[in-house]
Symmetry: C2
């Protein structure tokens, strides 16, 4: 067992972790006591000992930057689900009053049945449209900018995205910068790489038709891309980026090859596990001074929990079937639904370490080419790069909330009735390893992807800028030096399982 | 045991019921075979035996009115939840760009802290507003029309509803008829009492701040009222009626007296149980020929299920505590969340017999005045009128899907490991009866509300027009005469438990 595994918690982090565990199982306390300027109700409301206690604990001078969140906001896009629903999409644009639409896709999806239906649907309703089919898989800032220029020139009043996460994300950004034509590209990009400005008005309608069961992008307000000159994966996240409607048609995911089913499904697995274990929303700082500044990634909350846990259970049940039998339409349909449910879960709660660490893993690929991907260049598919560290990550985060990690292990079929809390991380890690090995064709750690200990510094430095997701990671230290050490330990531990 | 209990299913309804049970546990089959005009993909996609089977079963000539649904649409409003969040509401209207707002409330809520915060919030942001505080509890068409006239005269650009279901429902209709000023009141009212026209464009922003934990109206596209000259409860239902944002602040439900906690909570209980047991969406007819005609009440579906079942579990756990201890802030907070979750569940799936039968029960009240309600006139609170028939209703519906009814019984703490499927209804009915008795102050049947067997004809005739919800009731016959007999049996059985 590599040294990195034994990241000994100090007594203070242990105490914080325990406190989190306790608070996690209770609803947040009355917040008005930590914010005297908004104290609008009388003392008669404060008989409950829980609230009196909260008063004593929280009645300290206010430092806004350290004040914890007290609310969460759940914003789901509309989702329509059913085998064959793609054929309704023309009527949707007619109903929306759209007169000039851009269909956004990539060169592969452009040839699939989903796109044929998009063409037919819009034509049948007599809606004028054009097609942008130059979306780059794993978009870069320059590919996004090219797409935006196309959109600005055409001047659409609505967008239709047909494809996987890259397509839907690109369409979101075409929509954003068409609505804010004078904005600088970095204005809305996540801080610290960009300015992280909030989006101040609703965008044009965007209907998303996913053709993979993975990203859940049809439900989220997130768009991810590479910022080439910073050598970093980053993105833009805001509720207003969410598609108006996600059309989830299981007939559209039948075209995925088994390897794509597997890696897309592993993305779903990590979306659900990471959002389920993210710090609770009421541990997030700072508390926003205006609701418009409340981030989409807010930490786990009682509504995201429902989606994330259901998605986890479905993925464990159906992903192996969907990968092993290309004709298992039931399993494929359930995986599309799971991807969407996980999208609502992590779209409102966030992801953390698997995703934060995956960006440099994919970006610093030294030549690995994943089996079953019919492309020339080296590729570590996104789902593979998130899942490869998962056993390590959840072994590390378990101390923050052993009960949740045990519940997750139970979703994998582990009998947890006799398992001690201290073993929660180990038990979940083992369940994950077994699941990944049984799925087949998965690298058993970073070594299998071609990394060695000499690469760790680079991987750590590539992870540190992912502040938006690292902030949601339980057990991660606030000071950068300790955080760097912890990440180093995690990458070391993830070398092989 | 009264005769009404023994509604013997015929062999054909038994077969249908069995078929439903089987289909309910499987995803819907590929629909394109029942709709040859939309057959866009090749035969290579149809290797799965499940799909081949569907082809044989479904490839009959099309009668559109009998063609079953193949898709569902989940449309959730945004929900913000947290103790103290009401204070953010002024900023929300500022962020929405609102300049002229109507606050809708009733004369009781007008004096509560939630309203004080609404005033302060809008004033602080310098937003012009007026207050309409004449909402009638259990609204009538004339009280709604008065509210609409007020709104048309003021010409707002946004609405803020602060109150219970009656307030939020009234605000939805003020918003609707301000946006369609030339519409006749009956245009959008549910058929057959009204014309049931679909709403064809989005309305003005409406933010809803619930002060009870019951209706879930802050998340639904439904508004309920009495149509006085028809002596019937009816309503308007469409996605566009949904509030833009529901602000769920558990500090606002602390003012509910215990009797109101109880009856509001029983509404939540029935919302969750009815939507959980409603016919599955793919058994609903007709399949809409345009997605805009897909009703909000679509039948149970995999997403509504998640919400409904979680709400059921929370209600069983927290409602007794919230009723018994006015200082149990945790239980109150959880009940507000459960009400909202159930709202998302039934708002997308629908309710059925408890609600359908409750309208004549409340409307034909012969003088019953529920304990703990501080008003002069007789009242059967909505939650009481839905729960009073619940044991009877779920005993009746259980044959349609014994597994689901057993899972519901399990949520009440029943050990179902040894229970046979045939006993599912009886077991759930007993669990419900015990729950209602333990809650305290609940009428043990219609007799306790002052009804006797001479009232049954009137109650049945008052239920039959509730087509929108009766269509979602499992086990209910399609022909009116049998349906009438079944309802008669149900009311008879519900006389006492």
């Amino acid at each position: 067992m590599p040294a990195g595994l034994r990241i000994a918690p100090t007594s203070s982090t242990r105490a914080i972790s325990l406190l989190r565990t306790v608070q996690f199982t209770h609803p947040p306390t009355c917040p008005c006591h930590s914010n005297p300027s908004h104290h609008h109700h009388g003392p008669s409301l404060h008989k409950s000992p829980g609230i009196a206690q909260a008063r004593r604990t929280l009645a300290t001078p206010i430092d806004r930057s350290r004040q914890k969140e007290y609310a969460f906001e759940m914003a789901a896009s509309s989702i329509r689900y059913g085998p064959g629903v793609t054929k309704e999409v023309g009527m949707d644009f007619k109903n929306l009053g759209a007169k000039r639409v851009i269909i956004v896709t990539d060169s592969t999806v452009a040839k699939l049945d989903a796109m044929a239906q998009a063409h037919q649907g819009l034509s049948r309703e007599g809606i004028e449209y054009t097609v942008f089919d130059k979306v780059r898989v794993e978009p870069k800032d320059y590919s996004i900018k090219e797409a935006i220029a196309f959109a600005k020139e055409y001047g659409p009043d609505a967008f239709l995205a047909v494809g996987g996460g890259s397509v839907i994300d690109t369409a979101k950004l075409m929509n954003l910068y068409t609505s804010f034509p004078d904005a600088d590209f970095l204005d809305f990009v996540n801080a610290p790489l960009g300015k992280g400005l909030p989006i101040t008005k609703p965008l044009l309608p965007l209907v998303a038709v996913p053709t993979t069961a993975g990203t859940g992008s049809e439900t989220t307000g997130t768009a991810i891309f590479d910022l080439v000159d910073k050598k970093a994966k980053t993105g833009i996240a805001h509720r207003y980026l969410k598609p108006t409607l996600g059309i989830c048609d299981p007939l559209n995911t039948r075209t995925m090859p088994p390897a794509v089913h597997a890696s897309s499904g592993l993305d779903v697995l990590c979306h659900s596990l990471e959002s389920w274990t993210a710090i609770p929303y009421y541990e997030r700082t700072p508390r926003p001074d205006n609701p418009i500044k409340r981030p989409a990634y807010q930490g786990s909350n009682p509504i995201s929990d429902i989606f994330s846990f259901q998605a986890l259970k479905s993925t464990v049940q159906y992903l192996p079937r969907a990968v092993k039998d290309p004709d298992d339409f039931e399993a494929q349909s359930q995986m599309l639904l799971a991807a969407t449910l996980a999208g609502v879960g992590f779209g409102n709660a966030g992801v953390h370490l698997c995703h934060g660490m995956s960006y440099p893993i994919s970006g610093q690929n030294k030549g690995y080419k994943h089996a079953g991907y019919a492309i020339e260049s080296p590729i570590i598919p996104h789902g593979v790069s998130v899942a490869v560290t998962a056993p390590t990550v959840f072994r590390f985060t378990a101390a923050s909330n052993p009960e949740r990690h045990l519940q997750a292990a139970e979703a994998f079929g582990v009998d947890i009735s006799q398992v001690k809390k201290e073993s929660a991380g180990e038990v979940l890690a083992e369940a994950l390893q077994e699941f990944l090995v049984d799925l087949g064709d998965q690298p058993r750690g970073l070594k299998a992807l071609g990394f060695d200990s000499g690469d760790i510094d680079g991987l750590v430095e590539g992870t540190l800028p992912q502040k938006r997701v690292l902030d949601l990671a339980p057990n991660l230290a606030a000071d950068v030096e300790t955080e760097r050490e912890q990440l180093r330990g995690l990458f070391e531990d993830a070398m092989s399982y």
